[in-house]
């Protein structure tokens, strides 16, 4: 009995360091940010409680509104375009191509390139007189060439497309991991039953792949909501506020305008957003998951 107690306390001690670091550097700041979001605070004077004013102001702030709109566009694009493409790519990369190793490596390589370097490369490629327009000119004509990152209509769509350079390969990698964990004898059994092509995909591959779908959807949404480096480095949200993301707007409110209370409110809004999306999405995909 005494030994039992002792072991319990030792287990507690094992848990303590992780709990302490996580609590102090993750949870405590988060809980504080909930409080600060109801205050006016510039970091110098004491915070003044102002109720919901910060939250109300968000909806009349052009940076935040455009940031929200763009962030939603990015989420939608990730779910509707990026995911199906990544799944298709994973299915292809899972087949026995002669050049399979080369193909896989080419799609994974961009994943490890940092967004800083990505923006340096693509910033050059996409300049008005850069490589990309050099290729496009004979195809779409000189009059349609533009500074893709420099106009109100094209800057954010261009950034969305740039995220795909890494996004597709990353999601395909996770799908591929999922595909490889599906036991092959299921396919053999289905083959004997006479199932073919799309039916095989629809009734075996997709249901078995649902855990990966859950992970990929979650990562796509979180990735979209955290989009910061590319717009910060390539357009700084411009021209005007056309390529702001919510994260960039929060960053500017905090570290440019020193409007801490307001920035935390927007951060909390972003958090609520992520949590809602996660719950809804888990609700949808978990139901379809097959327990192995």
């Amino acid at each position: 009995m005494k030994l039992e107690r002792k072991q319990y306390w030792i287990a507690c001690l094992f848990l303590l360091p992780a709990l302490a670091i996580f609590g102090l550097f993750f949870y405590y700041p988060f809980l504080q940010s909930v409080y600060y979001s109801f205050t006016q605070w510039n970091g110098l004077k004491a915070p003044v409680f102002i109720g919901l004013d910060n939250y109300k102001y968000i909806f009349s702030d052009q940076q935040m509104l455009d940031g929200m709109k763009n962030t939603l566009k990015m989420v939608a694009f990730g779910l509707v375009v990026q995911n199906p493409l990544a799944l298709l790519l994973a299915l292809l990369l899972n087949r026995k191509f002669r050049t399979r190793a080369f193909l896989r490596t080419s799609f994974y390589l961009p994943i490890i390139i940092s967004l800083v370097v990505t923006s340096i490369i693509w910033g050059e490629l996409l300049k008005y007189d850069g490589f990309f327009n050099g290729i496009l000119k004979p195809i779409i004509g000189e009059s349609h060439i533009q500074d893709w990152l420099g106009t109100v209509y094209t800057s954010f769509p261009t950034i969305i497309l740039l995220t795909q350079w890494q996004g597709i390969g990353y999601c395909a990698l996770i799908y591929l991991a999922g595909l490889q964990s599906i036991p092959t004898d299921i396919y053999e059994a289905a083959d004997i039953e006479g199932a073919k092509g799309f039916a095989l995909f629809r009734h075996i591959t997709l249901p078995m792949l649902m855990p990966s779908v859950t992970i990929v959807l979650f990562l796509t949404v979180v990735g979209a909501l955290k989009l910061f480096d590319l717009p910060y480095l390539l357009t700084n949200g411009g021209p005007g506020t056309s390529s702001y993301t919510l994260f960039l707007a929060v960053y500017n409110a905090a570290f440019k305008a020193q409007n801490y209370g307001y920035a935390t409110a927007a951060g909390i809004l972003l958090a609520i957003f992520i949590i809602i999306v996660t719950i809804v999405q888990l609700g949808i995909t978990r139901k379809r998951e097959v327990e192995l």
Binding site: L15, F26, S114, L173, A177, A263
Partner: protein
């Protein structure tokens, strides 16, 4: 799906073309960094000779090796600390069933959903209060805190596969709990450790935002913000040196990637195991 049939050659050619277009930006980066200024903006004109001036200039104008040292320091520190505390936590989370441990599990789980944007400012003031502002230790602690949920679950999942009898016989032999863990359990959790490292090296190495906010002395700066600083100082001038520095910063990751690509795939499968 005709799993065992070889797919058509036409499909393969299309895929190869798409793959080459994905590789092109990387090729462009490396190629341009070796190109004389007058050819710099002509991507299809291959460099005539290895033009190394950009590298000389970059290493002269920017303290690259300091940035590299800082990045490695922060990365190794954060991975080591996270591995130590998360393996211990994951181990007891999987072995104990008392209420405290179930709550701790939920506590960590909620951390996977809560995004860190809003917390940046309180974290900033916390760092000032603790006199950790502008230190690399702060980065290590912030990264570790962020890793703890995922890493603990990973270790918990791997602990399940270790038979309890092992611990029982060891403790009968008079082995103390700390020694038992680090001598017997921890080595058995090595696959989890490998998975954790392989999947998280890139995130720290490439992080731009965290050092941007929490470090402001050049001599402590990590590579990514250092490169951005270097780029902003060079505006309107030739981008060659910026490309050269980018190649140097990407190179260690490419080498690592070449050796661990297989494990990355495996790591992601393991990460998908429900804890």
């Amino acid at each position: 799906m005709g799993l065992n049939k070889r797919p058509s050659i036409l499909l393969e050619i299309v895929l190869i073309l798409v793959a080459l277009s994905f590789l092109f930006p990387v090729f462009f980066l490396v190629e341009s960094s070796f190109k004389e200024p007058r050819y710099f903006f002509k991507p299809f004109a291959l460099p005539h000779s290895f033009y190394l001036d950009y590298y000389k200039k970059a290493l002269h104008d920017m303290d690259f090796f300091r940035g590299l040292w800082n990045t490695v320091l922060v990365m190794v520190g954060a991975l080591a600390l996270a591995i130590m505390v998360a393996s211990m936590a994951g181990y007891v989370l999987s072995r104990r069933t008392e209420r405290l441990f179930r709550y701790a599990y939920l506590f960590f789980l909620s951390g996977m959903v809560i995004p860190t944007v809003g917390s940046l400012i309180p974290l900033f003031t916390l760092a000032v209060k603790l006199h950790l502002m502008n230190t690399r230790i702060l980065l290590v602690l912030i990264y570790t805190a962020g890793f703890i949920p995922f890493a603990s679950f990973l270790y918990a999942a791997f602990t399940k596969a270790i038979p309890r009898e092992l611990e029982e016989s060891a403790s009968l032999d008079g082995c103390g709990p700390l020694r038992l863990f680090f001598r017997i359990i921890f080595p058995l959790l090595l696959p989890a450790t490998g998975t954790f490292i392989v999947t998280n090296v890139y995130g720290i190495w490439n992080d731009f935002l965290t050092p941007l906010i929490f470090l402001n002395q050049p001599e402590k700066m990590t590579l990514m913000p250092q490169i951005v600083q270097f780029m902003f100082n060079k505006q309107s001038v030739n981008y060659g040196p910026v490309f050269a520095v980018s190649v140097l910063a990407v190179l260690p990751l490419v080498v690592l990637f070449a050796f661990t690509q297989k494990y990355m795939l495996r790591g992601l499968t393991a990460g998908a195991v429900k804890g």
